[in-house]
Amino acid sequence: MSPLNALHLYRVRLRARFWQECFAVVGIAAGVALLFASQVANSSLQSSVSQLSRGIAGNATLQLLARDPHGFPAATLTRVRAIPGVRVAAPVLEAGAQASGPRGSSSVQLIGADTSLSQLGGALVRGTQLRPFGGIGAVVLPAPLARTIGVTRFGQEALLQLDGRTAQAPLYSQLHSSQIGALVHSSVAIVPLSFAQELTGLGARVSRILIQPAAGSQPRVLAALQRLAAGRENVEAVDYEERLFAKAAAASNQSTALFSAISALVGFLFAFNAVLLTVPQRRRLVVDLRRDGYEPRTVIAVLLLDAIVLGLIACALGLVLGEELSIHVLHSNPAFLSLAFAVGSERFVSWQSIAFALAGGMGAAIVAVLTPLRDILSRDPLAAIGAPESSGGGGGDGKSTGGWRAPAHAPARAALAGVVCLVAATAILLEAPDAAIPGMVLLVASLLLVLPYALALALEIVGRLARLVAGVVPHVATMELGAAGARAVAIAATGAIAIFGSVAIQGAHGDLLHGLENAARDVNASTDVWVSPAGSYNLLNTTPFAPVDRSKLERVAGVRAVRLYRSGLLDYGDRRVLVMAPPAQARPLLPATQLVRGNLRRAEERVRAGGWLILSQAIASEHHLHIGQAIALPTPLPRQMRIAALSTNIGWAPGAIVMNADDYARAWGSGDASAYSILLNPGVPPARAVRDIRRALGASSGLAVQSAALHTLRQSALSRQALARLTQIATLIPIVAVLAMAAAMGAMIWQRRPRLAKLKLEGLPRADLWHTILLESLLLLGVGCLTGAIFGLYGQQLADRALAQTINFPVVYSVTVLAALSSLALMTATALAILAIPGWLASSVPAALALQD
């Protein structure tokens, strides 16, 4: 049959099954949308960092990077430019800042550069004014950011707060997407280098120099830069920031990838269920074509054309829906990571995301449309509709033991394979928690393999219970479900996977959030009030500032002690580590809940004495370090320190180091503070003390004063924001699953109307038929959701252990049985309530329909 004729046949047949095909299209589209949206959300943050990094660096391939937040002398630039083989060397000064205007404020990355940066051709600075305008420093802002803070007119001043300083910066221009593309969504403020140096108070210093070597000179330049750095600065490739971000975001990316996969599976099952609706018509077509003498090859080609048309239309619709979903529901939220990286809010749609979603949609369409493949290839042309040519039948192997059909061998064999997968997942849980993703995949496989048996077992149990009562409803329900086969399992699997994902995600999410909140509370437990540079970018107190006159603070009524707290970010290997350096007198120095290995009392004594630190276990494992061993820290003044104990990551994904404030000052070669930790006399209300301290500091100090309780709340809020995407996915999956199950079951019920008519003909009243439908639905949804919930609780333990052992988060383990049960009940009840309507309508089928075959 020629493709044109096959297309004509498709068009002719479409008239008769238009609505079923529409439903199948919607089903596949929903799956594709879910898949696409989660993929886009997942890849946008990493792409944002990469784009911004490349937008600044352009053609540069190397960089000399300051370890000290104060940067290094700008004079180094002259020495770099003097290195043979250096084509362009561009100085950059970067700092976190808070930009404010009449309409609001936003955390931004201040980028100070001179005209040499433009020579590198980076998209962000190409054509940007990097020369002081008439000798006056001015700022260039991306248009969305300018609108957010309300600074949009030339010359209008934005308030910049950074490093405990406050300054006004007039707007020079806005950058639009026509100039810088997707980078327009970056939170950056670009200023001339000299103006950045003035704003930060750093004088003639820069934080990095970007270098473009001449062709073939890269190794020579690299070696020369390393000699120049002499172990006090870092020499790295320009993609270093991307690598650091990838490591920092690994936990979030892995968990989102996993749950994207679960979304994909739910979407695939939705699509598969939807396409199964059209299988009966396709089976009849197969019979017609085979009976008319067409070869199986031609039949497959005709069906493949069906799948391609169906898949293409559905994928196009799915991508449009997915685009909307990713814009309005599944936002990318950098949250905590924005405290250490310049991350924008732009969405990046990669070709991989589109290809993955398309492959999923087309795959579902092809697999489902080719369901009767075995029958097509059969020698019996009527095999596809299960009508044997010879009616002799009566083989002796179809004996049914004990009435209702017992669990057949196939489900039992699958269940056995499922148990093997479960054992493998348990081995991963116990022995290799870092392999959480393979563990989850095994768990999902186990769930899918066990489900047919669970369903058969449930039918057997209900069948046996039904024998004890008079009434046709449970008997017919179990008989019908027993006969429903793949369709029933596919529907139950949709619910099972959705509940599995929802329970595992929400459980692990709750445990992680609980742990992060504990960490925030513990870290803030050693102080009553914090004084630190203002701005939401400084929530971890990592911005240094020149110490103020401490006596001003000590004189405030109710203040018992003022202690200097130091903290910063240190690039160690591929990790941007949080270094916390509380004053030696702080109690506790490390909260007991964060200790993983070692003796807490002895470790605190050692850290207080100096020369010792507490390190996150994940970093120790990565570098094969153990307690008592010396570690060389790549600080501005490199130092050897010994490991006193191992801790969690204290809520910072890349890991944390705790040392005392004096050791920090020596390692960074600076007496700057990061915050003042203020202790109050007993009974002094923190709110009053905060007010008095603000007054003592004066309005122009650039320092923020807040109680430890408020600081804890803000950190917890940021944790919740960071995990928001998981919450969104965990909410979205059950919604889609409920719709998928209700739609698939509704359609299945509707298709059963002729069978219901036959039961009516036997005298079964409408109410009995309706109750039968509801019982079938309850059984199917209940078994699917219950199995999913049980596996979900197991998945939660797997995810918890991975988060705690691999990424070192301070997870609080729990088994959220109640939450799982409520999810299960809510989902089952919602789907059942939806199904009650088509069930009632289907049960009103006229019995006369039974005679029309």
């Binding site: 009616s391 059909r405 008997h475 003909l761 036997e762 005298g763």
Partner: protein, 232 residues
């Protein structure tokens, strides 16, 4: 006993005379009697069966089962009538797939009896129908003749007073068709069931006590000819 008194079913037609699908049919079938009803396609056979089974309301006339006129039953009462007083056998075998013969046969009994009781009750009838060795086999493993016998068992399971059979031999070869017709006649006599068999199969006449023909909605005495036996 089944008695039809001047039964009429007219369907309205746009811009013309109403279609007289059944036009004043009167018929009495005594308990234990088997009536074979022939007629070409469109003669009103199915409409007549639908009305007797209370699946279609007559335009006029009465349908009496014993002394009771069932033509005015409510939907619920009609269901109850079909469940307990009527057995319906069709050409297509509406057995539940994956379910044993005996459980398929007990479907109607389960409304009022427990599973074990229902099986106990139906087993002798299945044995009587020659399915004693096959009653625990799943429906899809049964031959067409065996499936039809399961349908007969189901139809007779509740001890109906009336048996309607719509093309009961339509899917069977002549040997199995004969077996089924023989069984139907025997069982309706034994159980004193009034049986109406609608068929195109000339063989059905051999097993009927009376043979009638329906032509253009009117009942007449049977006169064998090809037009009547011909399938529509």
């Amino acid at each position: 006993m089944l008695e039809l008194r001047n039964l009429v079913k007219h369907y309205p037609a746009i811009g013309g005379e109403p279609v007289r699908a059944v036009d004043g049919v009167s018929l009495t079938v005594a308990p234990g009697e088997t009536v074979a009803l022939y007629g070409p396609s469109g003669s009103g056979k199915t409409t007549l069966l639908l009305m007797i089974a209370m699946l279609l309301a007559p335009t006029a006339g009465e349908i009496l089962i014993g002394e009771r006129d069932i033509s005015t039953l409510s939907e619920h009462e009609a269901s109850h009538f079909r469940l307990s007083e009527l057995g319906f056998i069709r050409q297509s075998f509406d057995l539940l797939p994956g379910v044993s013969a005996i459980d398929n046969a007990t479907l109607k009994l389960l409304k009022t009896r427990r599973w074990r009781e229902a099986r106990r009750e139906i087993a002798p009838l299945l044995a009587r129908l020659g399915l004693g060795e096959r009653m625990n086999h799943r429906s899809e493993t049964l031959s067409m003749g065996e499936r039809q016998r399961v349908m007969i068992a189901r139809a007779l399971s509740t001890g109906p007073r009336l048996l309607l059979a719509d093309e009961p031999t339509g899917s069977l070869d002549s040997r199995r068709g004969r077996e089924v017709l023989e069984l139907l006649r025997e069982l309706s006599r034994e159980r004193e069931v009034a049986a109406v068999i609608v068929s195109h199969d000339p063989m059905a006449a051999e097993y009927a006590d009376r043979v009638l023909t329906l032509l253009d909605g009117r009942l007449g005495e049977h006169s064998p000819n090809h037009e009547v036996y011909a399938r529509g």
